[in-house]
Amino acid sequence: MRTLLDAESGPWHPVARATFEATVDAGWANPRARYAEGRRAAEILNLAREQVADVLGCRTDEVSFDSSGAAASRRAVAGLAIGRRRVSRSVATSSVEHSSILQAAVGVISAGGDSGATHLSIDVDADGLIDLTKLAFIAGAEPAFVAIQAANQETGVIQDWQGISATLEPVGVPWFVDATSVLAHGEPPQKWSVLTADAPAWAGPSGVGILAVRTGARWRNPDYPSDAFELGRVPGMPSVPAIAAAGAALVAMRDDRIERAKTLAGFSAHIRKVASEQIPHVQIHSTDVGCPHITSMSFLYVSGEALASQLDVRGFAVASGSACANELHTPSHVLAAMGHLTEGNLRITLPWNTTAEGVDAFLAQLPSAVHSVREQFGAIDL
């Protein structure tokens, strides 16, 4: 039996699957076609748009779908940079944003050439939180926009949204928020200018991202002139069945989120407690006030890749943010920004259907898995 501890990539919610299967037949057509099949696809697509708008608390025509959260975030960055270029060529992001956002910010700055544009980075403290005083200072420089995520994808640290919007609103600097990590089990942020999210995070299908642009926000389609798909914001025919599945999963997850969040928070607290009590030399990067399903922790004298493989062999699918665990050999920029340990990292994101039995089975194996990797490295007695 396998136990999945990496919810960033699924699995699909049963409602997503049922909706997908139903709409493969009913919604395959081009939603812009004028014949009956096309109108049918458009109806299904618009229902998903209404579902997302309902959960986000925004207007239906503010919601567009993109091919992933990362694609939507790149489009958010590029579009805000163009929309506000008369005000500023500089952009600001927190140092712990998803890599797609940091890469897009670097991209718009280098595309600006010698215009004097800069990428202003907003540091986080050892708890992963940005300093609102520093944010106010950066906002005073009037960058094109400020990108600050609702919660961190690795550590689950939730930022102070009210404080962020209260700082940015009076100076008129748009707030771009990546809401991916909070939408599965938490409250969506409010008062943003542009919001993005990735459907696998709430057990929807991969290949669907949300790009929500507030009416009046200074965002322009970076691919202008473009076609009219997705209210003119995202070119190309969208996958109506996948989008319908994502919308249905989002609503299904919202409807029982309070109870589920409580259960998952209990599991996560238990994982952190057992790891810190039973395994020497561990640093836990997540707390009880973060996202209920996320725990990141790192073990000294352990290779993250070896630990993830060891757990894989024992039946557990879990990710690692250590340098050795990715092809670029770069450690997690999130842990680096917090000044935390990056070796021997495990990134646990509990799926919506996690059971107490699954958590117990994992915790029964984790101490000996860590021990066995330390043994391989001759690091038992340290």
């Binding site: 030399h281 640093q283 000294l300 004298y301 000044g339 340990l341 990056t342 070796e343 340290l382």
Partner: protein
């Protein structure tokens, strides 16, 4: 105050977690002033994190002069010994 017992640990060419393990081994062997040479960029983050977690001090971080090749010298003062 007693004399500092120095050690030189050359881990250039090895990747995480090996440099930090070598550092901890030198500390466990009783060295109280350790010069760790490493060229894995991850060591920049993890040596500092090791010092914080174990209560020791990262005294300095100095890039090696060009004639000694790439790498960084981390000078660590061991003030706390982790219990065995």
């Amino acid at each position: 105050m007693s004399e500092l017992l120095p050690a030189l640990v050359d881990e250039r060419g090895s990747k995480c977690p090996v440099p930090v393990i070598a550092l901890a081994k030198a500390a466990a062997a009783g060295s109280s002033l350790i010069d760790l040479l490493a060229d894995d960029p991850v060591a920049d983050i993890d040596v500092a994190a090791w010092c914080l977690m174990t209560g020791n001090t990262l005294e300095s971080r100095t890039p090696l002069p060009d004639e000694q090749g790439s790498g960084v010298r981390y000078r660590v003062i061991i003030s706390a010994h982790t219990p065995r």
